[in-house]
């Protein structure tokens, strides 16, 4: 009998089933609420009045990224960029690899696991697939909430549906990239090192640099190396940004991270 290639992914998925279900429901609900709200309320005038109270720099930032696209479709795309949605996805993307690599090296489970007839590279790929699936379930929650609300409000058309699918796929690739560089960090970390915290901090730095970019020209040169540059949901929905370009860059970075993580993990000492 051959070792089961599903046993480990199932173990990982089972461990995260509650948080995944929670994320699915919350993200779906946020999407549904945002789309229905934008359909019922004249958000443009409400937010326009609020915008006038802000300093000019913030007005530019908010109007560019938010207000000018506050249509129903724009609201649906904004939901995919909502801080709570991003937080839930990033928590999963960072916590799963950190827990299953650094955490299990520290508590001894990895030592036992690698004494089984398991290839280390295969184990890393299994973990990556499992964590990617967890993120995908959350994205499916967002799609479910968006499409249901768009259908209920009578705003769903083919172009918007295509845009929403691209936004979801783009977000999933972004989250998988976060997960992949967390795996790199975890595979280099010593037992007990806070690899999840390091990965989360890196992601936060990327996010703040992205948010501050419209009001801080001095950091414009960082734009090409910021992962959030390759995820701009409202621009995708409005056809201002190529999904294919974003996806190509993110897929290339994911591939690079996975190569480094697998190679490093295959060669490192356990526990190290």
């Amino acid at each position: 009998m051959q070792p089961s290639s599903l046993a480990y992914p199932v173990l990982v998925l089972r461990q995260h089933v509650f948080f995944t279900a929670f994320s699915f429901v919350i993200v779906g609900a946020i999407q549904y609420a945002l789309v229905t709200l934008s359909n019922q309320v004249d958000t443009r005038s409400v937010f326009g009045a609020l915008l006038e109270q802000l300093p000019p720099g913030f007005q530019t930032m908010v109007s560019e990224t938010f207000l000018t696209r506050m249509t129903v479709g724009g609201a649906a795309a904004f939901g995919f960029n909502h801080p709570l949605v991003m937080a839930l996805l990033v928590i999963n993307a960072v916590a799963i690899p950190a827990r299953h690599i650094s955490g299990e090296i520290e508590n001894g489970a990895m030592e036992w696991l690698l004494a089984l007839p398991v290839r280390r590279g295969r184990l890393m790929v299994s973990l990556w697939v499992s964590a990617s699936l967890v993120s995908l379930v959350t994205i499916i929650g967002a799609w479910a909430g968006s499409f249901t609300a768009l259908a209920v409000t009578g705003n769903l058309d083919a172009a918007l549906a295509r845009g929403m699918i691209q936004v979801g796929a783009n977000l999933w690739l972004l989250v998988v990239l976060v997960m992949s560089y967390t795996m790199v960090i975890a595979s280099f970390s010593r037992p007990g090192a806070p690899s999840g915290l390091v990965a989360a901090s890196v992601t936060m730095v990327f996010y703040f640099l992205y948010v501050l970019r419209p009001v801080w020209n001095a950091i414009a040169f960082l734009e090409p190396v910021n992962i959030f540059t390759y995820y701009q949901p409202q621009k995708i929905v409005f056809g201002e940004r190529s999904f294919a370009l974003n996806a190509a860059v993110l897929v290339a970075l994911i591939g690079l991270c996975m190569l480094v993580a697998i190679r490093r993990f295959a060669r490192r000492d356990i526990p190290g």
Binding site: A7, L116, I270
Partner: protein, 298 residues
């Protein structure tokens, strides 16, 4: 199989500048129960991790079943059962789920082995509980089950009786004896000398990363460092004995540590006014401690 099951040749592992093991060399023969003795920090666990390909040696090599061991040696590990020193398992799984998971990862039949579970006193209630809720001893029993259930050709056990009560320890020794009867080779580390005396054919003693003794248990026990007590009928000036070192005494009673062959010593004693001689068989504890002292004859 021909040749040793385990062949460790000058295995050296440094963690940065810290020594884990240095120049460790030994072989384990097929069907042998091999004890690996040493105090904490001696290099036992480092060597065991080397056997499993968990560590990359700084120098030297390890072969198991005549194959070089590395992280990629899945064919070697398929034939091994391993119990880590501090077995934790997966806290969120029940004991039964964990055993099934181990079976699936090995490609073995995931049916729980009823006779093994019964002997280790693992009932349905215990098996249904999550590992994080089990006592240390019960977790250790689960660890023993996952190491043994697929009838491996080589068992590598790192301090396997830790946390087991004396009755369960006896059961465990019985399981080892059965594994040996069916032809399995057993390598186990311990610092419990009585269990090594009960179960092992040969012993390797490791100290500060180096092998300091490697021989059959009987030979090791006989070899050196026997304590000798001589009670004389009358005082003798500057009593010295060949091959013995005086360690103390009161009045007519003298204590020595004897190293090596006792024949010249007995011949010398025959010429002295001796009232009584005690030359007890050394316990392994005594042998062990002698090897572990920096100055072994003190």
């Amino acid at each position: 199989m021909d040749g040793p099951v385990i062949a460790v040749d000058r295995f050296t592992k440094y963690y940065g500048k810290t020594r884990g093991a240095e120049d460790v060399t030994f072989q384990v023969r097929p069907g042998e129960v091999f004890g690996f003795l040493g105090p904490n920090g001696a290099g036992k666990t480092t060597t065991i991790r080397g056997l499993l390909g968990l560590l990359r040696p700084t120098a030297g090599s390890i072969r198991i079943f005549n194959r070089a061991v590395s992280a990629a040696s899945t064919d070697v590990r398929r034939r091994c059962g391993y119990l880590p020193g501090d077995f934790a398992g997966y806290a969120h799984l029940s004991a039964a789920e964990f055993i099934r998971f181990a079976a699936r990862m090995r490609g073995a039949d995931p049916t729980l082995p009823p006779s093994l579970l019964e002997r280790l006193d693992l009932d349905a209630h215990t098996l249904s509980r999550r590992i994080k809720h089990l006592s240390h001893g019960t977790r250790q029993k689960i660890g023993i089950v996952q190491a043994l259930f697929h009838r491996p050709d080589l068992l590598i056990l790192d301090e396997p009786t830790t946390g087991l009560d004396p009755l369960m320890q006896e059961t465990f020794y019985g399981l080892l004896a059965e594994a040996r009867e069916r032809g399995a080779t057993v390598f186990f580390s311990s610092h419990i000398l009585s269990e090594v005396e009960k179960t092992c054919d040969r012993v390797c003693i490791i100290r500060e990363g180096h092998v300091v003794a490697l021989e059959a248990l009987e030979a090791l026990r006989r070899r050196r460092f026997r304590r000798l007590t001589v009670r004389l009928r009358e005082p003798v000036d500057a009593l010295t004995l060949p091959g013995a070192r005086r360690t103390g005494g009161v009045g007519l009673e003298h204590h020595f540590v004897v190293e090596g062959d006792v024949e010249p010593l007995l011949a010398h004693l025959a010429r002295l006014p001796v009232a009584d001689v005690a030359l007890p068989e050394p316990g392994l504890e005594e042998v062990f401690m002698a090897y572990y002292r920096s100055d072994a004859t003190e």
